[in-house]
């Protein structure tokens, strides 16, 4: 009886995760929506090219409702909203993902170090507290002021702004992830399998990579999904304060901000970017939810 089971080729871990992920309807739906959004901002510009209009021509078509010529209408200066939504999306999504990656990397690293090595716990957690206590906006202000011109000289104003913003957001939003991970690691390292690994002489590096990291993936995933949303919103705050991208460089946050004063007359101005931001955040959250279930061996197969 046991023979047949032993002969079956065991399912690879990745396939198992995928099978479990597919069970989660919301996660699959989220993945589809996010895929569509990414395709929209990346492939869209190849399919839809806005007309090159002179200022005087553009002003004749300002505030137009959606039509064949302008599928999402035009704004108060006669700019094609579809075109702006696509280029804004590229920036917003890129900022969201990259800033999230940076934050998660720092957060997990510091969290694991603090949780696993007792000697580092105190200093690292005090560092985290210090970062939490720092007022975010003045800190960003100083960073932008110190480095904007220098970066802009090296990589150009747009790329410079991108790097700076992504790094600034990443460097100021890792603290929550670090705290969550540390808590989880503190609990995990007292578990029997970690003790067992240690007793056979496994070095800390291996224990962390093989036994601890896979088990903290779920809280990290949740932190990451929330991080994307937060990064997109922080970016719009920065652009609003004039510290972000140059004003002719649209992002979803900026489009939303620009549309605010026209909300009553042309609600679609805020609906489109608002919808895009909400859909991104929601779908990423669902994906995170699905991943957490899929990666958790205890939940798997339930």
């Amino acid at each position: 009886m046991t023979d047949t089971a032993a002969l079956d080729k065991p399912e690879s871990q990745l396939a198992a995760v995928w099978r479990q992920f597919r069970q989660h309807k919301g996660a699959v739906f989220g993945l589809c929506v996010l895929g569509l959004l990414v395709a929209f901002v990346l492939l869209g510009p190849y399919l839809w090219q806005a007309e090159e209009l002179k200022v005087s021509e553009a002003l004749k078509v300002k505030n137009k409702p959606p039509s064949l010529r302008f599928p999402l209408g035009t704004d108060q200066l006669g700019r094609d909203m579809l075109d702006r939504m696509m280029s804004a999306g590229q920036v917003s999504l890129a900022v969201g993902f990259v800033a999230m990656l940076i934050a998660i990397f720092f957060g997990t690293f510091i969290g694991v170090m603090a949780g696993y090595f007792k000697r580092l716990d105190g200093p690292l957690m005090r560092l985290t507290d210090m970062f939490l206590a720092l007022p975010l906006i003045p800190l960003l202000l100083v960073m932008v002021m110190l480095f904007r011109d220098r970066l802009a000289k090296v990589v150009g104003p747009e790329m410079g702004a991108f790097l700076l913003i992504v790094f600034a957001i990443g460097a100021t939003s890792w603290m929550h992830a670090a705290r969550i991970v540390r808590g989880e690691v503190l609990a995990l390292k007292e578990r029997e399998y970690v003790l067992a690994a240690r007793s056979i002489g496994a070095p800390p590096r291996r224990i962390i990579l093989r036994h601890i990291l896979p088990n903290v993936v779920s809280p990290v995933m949740v932190a990451a999904t929330l991080g994307i949303a937060e990064a997109i919103i922080t970016e719009s705050v920065l652009s609003f304060l004039g510290l972000g991208f140059p004003p002719d460089f649209p992002t979803w946050g900026r489009l939303l901000h620009d549309g605010l004063s026209y909300m009553q007359l042309y609600p679609e101005r805020v609906i489109w970017p608002g919808l895009a931001i909400s859909l991104t955040v929601l779908s990423v959250n669902y994906i995170g939810d699905g991943l957490r279930d899929a990666l958790d061996p205890k939940a798997r197969g339930r």
């Binding site: 005087s56 700019r79 202000l141 004039g242 004003p247 002719d248 620009d258 007359l265």
Partner: protein, 567 residues
């Protein structure tokens, strides 16, 4: 159509008004909305418009300005001039006569001693008086008798209507503020929140940054005024919410500074519950050209200083071409609507100082601009951007963060790109841009950009101090902690000579001629300053509120005593 009806209604109300408000307090209550709420009612302790204007309901000066910018008597019997002997022939003193029988709201008489006290209060060496500029050059205030006030100046003052004139320098009651001189000024909370005045209203209750409750002054000099028995000045919200409160919900009768985009203006005005009032003062939105090199390659302390002239903008042909490419009417339509009009003047008002012949910039000329750039040696490169000696025609264009300014940036960038100029935009948070911090690279004084856009105006009706800002010695730089007012780093000895001449000229016709010449030198002749839009004030009044006249030369509440309810 509805707007027209509303206007007609208001006009009718004016016609039948006198019968309606013959009695003090007959019209009940009036609600006024200042969305930036007043934080004090002592204008000497705050330069905020909201504070100065609200306090003008209670405190008054000897004279004020009307909606045309003319001086009108308030507490004084008449306006002193050289002709009637009130102003000394050598312009070193002015003699005011108080109206006899004037009473403070607590029933005590107003005397010349109150004026002398007010001057001492504001010029006290330990006090930080926000309106000290109104008393600049005053060496003494003499009181030969109870009703006569003589103000002496250190040097001839061609414009003597500064001290005690307008909402920014009203009379304080000596008895009430006697213990509030110098350093004690800001500790006198009761006095600053509830000043005793001569104006049409008396403060009943003051809640900082929230609400001021007022009632009619029982001792106001005109027994038939004000028509309203009580008034509430409420704060909070923003310009758009304020406009809605008057134009759509009708909760308020008057809202100050309802600067909203033209399309919303039109939509709200269509509702018929209120009207937008606009008045034009001296506020001009302009593009400033940097005459010095802001390049980041230069050492700190040499950037944007007179050591290095601007490599591109030093050529007047380029500056002219940039101005020609702009369609100012479009900017007005997009940004300000009824609250703006295109202008080529740095001094657009008052009428006698405004150069009405300076209209050359009003028509856009893209082809002409292109030709001018060709002439200057800038030829189109492969990517459509002009070049000269291997250098691209690239400009950094900065301004403060504000939706209208970003729209303007986008439009101007579009036009400049059409003539082959590559433009990089930058916006800076207004508190940093206008903050004046010498340590920040992003202030408008440092001007680390090729062109920048903002608005500026001058206080009162005399442009002399304003035009004097463009003298060579007022250029901001590291040696004066970047505090100069000559933002463009414009320097012309002939201009400096004109400023000196103006400061010694009393004749109004001659002064007006000098002002026009200087205005022309800065705009039309050199294109150092490129004016775009003459920005007015926009406030909203309910159709049921009569007697409102928007005044840009004094406070907006200057004639609250004449307001009445349209029945």
């Amino acid at each position: 159509m509805k707007l027209k009806t509303a206007l007609l209604g208001a006009a009718c109300a004016f016609a039948f008004a006198p019968a309606a408000f013959a009695e003090r307090g007959a019209d009940g209550h009036v609600n006024v909305l200042y969305w930036q709420a007043p934080s004090t009612l002592n204008p000497y302790l705050s330069s905020g418009t909201k504070d100065v204007e609200t306090s003008s309901l209670v405190l008054e000066g000897l004279a004020g300005f009307n909606e045309k910018g003319e001086v009108i008597a308030r507490l004084a019997e008449s306006v002193p001039t050289v002709e009637n002997g009130g102003v000394a022939a050598d312009l070193t003193s002015i003699t005011w006569k108080l109206q006899p029988g004037l009473l403070w709201s607590d029933g005590t008489p107003v005397t010349s001693a109150d004026a002398k006290f007010t001057w001492e209060y504001c010029t006290h060496p330990e006090g930080g008086c926000a309106q000290a500029a109104r008393y600049e050059g005053v060496t003494a205030v003499e009181t030969p008798d109870e009703l006569t006030i003589v103000v002496k100046f250190a040097a001839p003052k061609p414009n003597p209507y500064m001290a005690f004139v307008g909402g920014t320098s009203p009379l304080l009651q000596a008895a009430q503020f006697a213990n509030c001189l110098g350093a004690a000024a800001s500790t006198c909370t009761d006095q600053n929140f509830m000043p005793i005045g001569t104006g049409p209203f008396v403060v009943k209750e003051f809640k900082t940054n929230d609400t001021v409750s007022l009632e009619a002054n029982p001792n106001y000099r005109d027994p038939a005024k004000p028509a309203f028995a009580t008034m509430t000045v409420k704060g909070g919200g923003d310009a758009e919410a304020a406009a809605r409160a008057v134009m759509e919900t009708g909760e308020f009768d008057y809202a100050w500074n309802t600067q909203i985009n033209p399309e919303l203006q039109a939509a709200m005005a269509g509702g018929g519950k209120g009207v937008f009032l606009n008045g034009f003062g001296t506020l001009v939105e302009r593009i400033e050209m940097n005459m010095t090199d802001p390049s980041a390659d230069l050492a700190e302390g040499e950037r944007s200083t007179t050591k290095h002239p601007h490599p591109i903008l030093s050529d007047i042909k380029v500056r002219t071409a940039l101005s020609m490419a702009i369609d100012r009417q479009v900017l007005v339509d997009v940004g300000y609507g009824a609250a703006g009009r295109p202008t080529c003047n740095l001094v657009p008002a008052p009428e006698m100082f405004a150069d009405t012949t300076n209209t050359g910039c009003l028509t856009q000329d893209i082809e002409g601009a292109k030709a001018l750039l060709e002439e200057a040696g800038w030829v189109a490169g492969a990517d459509g951007i002009r070049e000269k000696d291997g250098k691209k025609l690239h400009l950094l264009y900065q301004t403060s963060t504000n939706p209208v300014r970003q729209d303007f940036q986008a439009l101007v960038k579009g036009w400049w790109e059409e003539i082959g100029v590559s433009v990089e935009l930058k916006n800076i948070d207004a508190s940093v841009f206008f903050g004046g911090d010498a340590g920040s690279p992003d202030t408008f004084q440092k001007f680390y950009a090729d062109v920048e856009m903002y608005a500026n105006n001058f206080d009162g009706t005399d442009p002399e101090p304003y035009l004097a800002q463009y003298m060579c010695d007022k250029i901001p730089g590291p040696e004066n902690q970047w505090q100069g007012e000559n933002i463009n780093r414009f320097c012309d000895p002939a201009y400096d000579a004109l400023v000196k001449e103006m400061s010694a000229t009393a004749d109004l016709a001659k002064r007006s001629e000098l002002a026009k010449t200087m205005n022309g030198m800065l705009t039309r002749d050199t294109m150092t300053v490129v004016p775009l839009v003459d920005r007015g004030r926009l406030s909203a009044a309910s159709v049921t509120l009569g007697g409102v006249v928007l005044n840009t030369w004094d406070t907006e509440l200057w004639n609250a005593q004449d307001w009445f309810r349209v029945k």
